[in-house]
């Protein structure tokens, strides 16, 4: 009964939010920029056609960077907007548990980004037309990209709860996400390996959004990579609920 009620709450909030995306021009701008940016990097920087290789590595490798710039723009309004309009008082006094509200909002934003990812369908179609790419790797790439988008988004929704200023929320989200993107890169690991113990260096590089994604995009379906993203998302959403709880007392 409780679970059924929860599911109903999540789905009602999910539907309102998702519908809300398409009633404002920001959503369409996002879709356009997302596709343009990915297209530009894939064709003009990675030289998809000239590479002579029918795979999507040159396409997926840019996903973390495009997400880094664009997902905070989707996430920044999730709580900040409610606070600005005052509707946060309405939604937080509905007979709904706080986590259900957070989950409904998060899933709607995630689904929106899922739609954006689906709209890149000409990429795999082109690759399949031009050659015989590894379909498993392509599917793994899409799964990884979607999971990674969820992780980016969960950071953004959390920073959105911290402030009513959307710009502050945007910058905070980029900052935190930037850390997660860079964590696995050589310059970062080199910078800390000089003084930190090995287990710490491993832990930091293990936190990288990119490393887990790239292994999925190679077609290696490792449950640990999937669990990693799920736990980042869960942790961030939990942090989000703690932040909102604390605001009640502050």
């Amino acid at each position: 009964m409780k679970i059924k009620e929860s599911m109903n709450h999540i789905s009602v909030i999910f539907k309102r939010e998702l519908k809300g995306y398409f009633s404002v021009p920001v959503a369409y701008l996002f879709l356009i920029f997302f596709l343009l940016l990915l297209g530009f990097f894939t064709f003009n920087v990675s030289r998809f056609f000239e590479s002579g290789h029918a795979g999507l590595e040159g396409f997926f490798q840019w996903h973390p960077w495009v997400f880094l710039a664009l997902i905070p723009a989707v996430a920044m309004r999730l709580w900040a907007e409610e606070r600005r309009m005052g509707t946060i008082e309405l939604i937080l006094t509905f007979p709904v548990s706080l986590f259900d509200i957070i989950l409904g909002k998060f899933l709607a934003a995630w689904a929106f980004i899922g739609i954006a990812l689906l709209l890149t369908f000409p990429m795999p179609l082109t690759a399949m037309y031009l050659g015989s790419p590894d379909v498993g790797a392509m599917l793994g790439g899409y799964l990884g990209s979607f999971l990674m988008a969820g992780a980016f988004l969960s950071v953004g929704i959390m920073t959105s709860a911290m402030t009513q200023n959307q710009a502050v929320s945007f910058i905070l989200a980029i900052g935190v996400n930037f850390f997660f993107v860079l964590a696995g890169h050589a310059p970062v690991t080199a910078a800390i390996s000089g003084w930190a113990p090995v287990w710490f260096v491993d832990m930091v590089s293990g936190l990288s959004f990119t490393a887990h994604f790239m292994s999925l995009a190679r077609g290696v379906l490792d449950l640990r990579d999937i669990l990693y993203y799920i736990s980042v998302i869960f942790f961030m959403l939990l942090a989000n609920s703690v932040i909102l709880q604390n605001r009640r007392a502050a």
Partner: protein, 311 residues
């Protein structure tokens, strides 16, 4: 029953609400009065669990708001201050969302939405986007949301704020119509509203309850309750009249108050507000050949008491 026990709330070093306790039963409409910043909204927010109290607790229908907020809110309708709504939704979609959250489905949901639209006179704007509506309509849209599920308890923060006199009247009619079966808290700083609607009024000032009475009793608490106002023609001799009134038995003091052209006005206060002095004054003026234009007993006004208690 809505119960508040020792609700206290600090914002930084400031104590916004300080030890507010009360309880109201079904059939009661509690008017929550106080100047801006007295702590009305903060108290209501604590009762709804939107902010947590520094000390004390609140419960609705026996459910503690802190430990079981969902059960408490299920039975309650809440109209927050400034009536927040989602501007990019239509009136229908907004109410549909609120009804969905409250667990209504299918025909029952449609029925509840229809009922709320009818009660709040929203028929002509049902499919309009909320951002295009006037303040009065937005207020009623949010009002509709609060009564949609026919809750046992209603908490409304300034429900008639921003409405024109006709709309105010309509909203008051709606509130009165619902009042028999519900327990309600209404905050306002419009004193007529309290007289017109409430069975009980609490005045708060600087976060504390300074009066908790029926509106009638509150009026009796006003210091000018039982005072008498005597009007004379400008030809009368104010000095003589004043000294005559002052000597009348039962009169505590009297003074000239009005300075209108063509009129002399004297106010007299009784020793004991429950013992009328009007008869004595008329008699003593007549005995001294003074003929007043009129002698009026003051009822004591909520405005006056409000000012006396909150400044």
């Amino acid at each position: 029953m809505i119960e508040a026990i020792d609700l206290t709330r600090d914002f930084g070093p400031n104590r916004a609400v300080d030890g507010i306790s009360f309880s109201i039963k079904k059939g009661e409409i509690l008017g929550f009065l106080g100047p801006n910043g007295a702590g009305k909204s903060t108290t209501m927010r604590m009762i709804m669990g939107y902010i947590s109290p520094t000390r004390g607790s609140a419960s609705i229908g026996g459910h503690d708001v802190a430990s079981d907020p969902v059960a408490a809110r299920k039975k309650t309708g809440y109209l927050p201050e400034n009536a927040p709504v989602y501007p990019d939704m239509t009136v229908f979609d907004y109410l549909d969302f609120c009804a969905g959250i409250r667990g209504f489905k299918g025909a029952e949901k449609t029925g509840k939405i229809g009922g709320a639209i009818e009660k709040c006179f929203l028929g002509q704007v049902t499919h309009q986007t909320i951002s295009t509506l006037s303040k009065g309509f937005k207020q009623r849209v949010c009002f509709a949301q609060s009564i949609l599920h026919d809750p046992e308890y209603l908490i409304m923060d300034e429900p008639t704020d921003g409405l024109d006199p006709n709309q105010k009247h309509e909203v008051r009619m709606m509130i009165r119509e619902m009042s028999q079966k519900k327990a309600m808290i209404i905050s306002t700083h419009i004193l007529d509203e309290v007289e017109a609607l409430c069975t009980r009024a609490i005045i708060i000032s600087n976060g504390r309850i300074v009066a908790d009475e029926t509106p009638e009793n509150l009026k009796k608490m006003a210091s000018n309750h039982g005072a008498v106002r005597i009007l004379f023609d400008e030809t009368a001799d104010p000095g003589a009249a004043l000294s005559c009134i002052k000597k009348t038995p039962g009169v505590k003091w009297a003074r000239q108050t009005g300075f209108k052209v063509g009129e002399i006005e004297i106010e007299a206060r009784p020793d004991d507000p429950s013992a009328p002095i009007e008869g004595n004054i008329t008699a003593s003026l007549a005995a001294n050949d003074q003929t007043p234009k009129s002698v009026v007993i003051q009822q004591g006004r909520l405005d006056d008491l409000f000012r006396e208690l909150t400044t």
